[in-house]
């Protein structure tokens, strides 16, 4: 599977994924997120002062696990994150990238929601598990990492 095929597979899973980050003290943290793909990149809407935002300012590497379906399909992603708070990026993401209404969580919209920012995850490697791996496992790794 290439990354585009993995992205397509992810969109057929649960809308939810579990995002792990690591704090400056080495403690892992994991929270639910609703990620969306834009090309090869993953975007997550987050709070500017959330634990995951603070953690990735210290350690940009993240792990993301799409919630496993009832049939045992799931995807694990490892990647490198960056945080984006500029209005131009927010306006671009606000419509057309996410598959849910961001105004539900940030009623001020892209120009008046200073507490809302976006995390971009550049995927470095991924593992696709079908039926808990019994129906196949596919690994992908970015060639320049």
């Amino acid at each position: 599977m290439n990354l585009a095929e993995i992205a397509a597979f992810c969109t057929g899973l649960s809308p939810w994924a579990h995002l792990a980050t690591v704090g400056s003290d080495g403690a892992p943290d994991v929270v639910p997120v609703h990620p969306c793909w834009e090309g090869d990149d993953i975007w997550v809407m987050i709070g500017a002062d959330s634990v995951k935002a603070r953690n990735t300012r210290h350690e940009p590497r993240v792990a993301l696990h799409w919630q496993v379906t009832e049939t045992g399909d799931g995807v694990e992603i490892w990647g490198r994150s960056t945080l984006h708070s500029d209005v131009d990026t927010k306006k671009r993401l606000w419509t057309g990238v996410f598959d849910y209404d961001l105004n539900t969580f940030a009623p001020g919209g892209p120009e008046a929601s200073p507490d809302t920012i976006f995390m971009r995850i550049v995927v470095e490697r991924a593992t696709v598990l079908k039926a808990y791996g019994m129906a196949g496992m596919h690994r992908w790794k970015r060639s320049d990492t």
Binding site: G26, P28, P32
Partner: protein
């Protein structure tokens, strides 16, 4: 979206966590500082979150060098998109005596995954003693329950 905070007990957290079913995601930290996530079947054994896992898995290797671990139970529409997160200190129970003691505590037949029984070194128990926990109601928009070990 006013957030309410409650001081709750570990028993409240344990009871709430059972709403989400047996699957959870355990986050650990690698020796190089990279986070790792693994889906596992979990159960409470006493006051610890327990998982029966392969001895050579990455999460076991990670816990042996950094015992900090976080558990996030599955999220679903059926539970109103609530979340239960438990932060704690993990240990690995890898002796035959420990496996025998824990063997019947997971709520499912471990022999289906480890025919060698508790004597086999292929599997171990990963046990997490909670230090703090949070339940987020509808992503936290409908409030939260928090507990911290004192």
């Amino acid at each position: 979206m006013e957030e309410e905070r409650y001081v709750t007990t570990l028993d409240d957290i344990k009871a709430d966590s059972r709403r989400y079913g047996p699957f959870a995601y355990i986050a650990t930290t690698g020796s190089d500082g990279e986070p790792h996530l693994a889906p596992v079947a979990v159960n409470w054994i006493g006051d610890e979150v327990a998982a029966f896992v392969l001895s050579n898995s990455r999460k076991v290797r990670n816990v042996r060098q950094n015992p900090r671990a976080t558990v996030h139970f599955s999220v679903s529409e059926g539970t109103g998109w609530d979340s239960c997160i438990v932060w704690g200190r993990a240990r690995i129970a890898d002796t035959t005596a420990e496996r025998r003691e824990l063997w019947n505590g997971m709520g499912y037949d471990l022999a289906a995954f480890e025919p060698g029984g508790p004597e086999s070194d292929n599997h171990v128990f990963l046990l997490i003693e909670p230090v703090r926990a949070t339940v987020l109601r509808t992503y936290g928009m409908a409030g939260r329950l928090s507990w911290r070990r004192t």
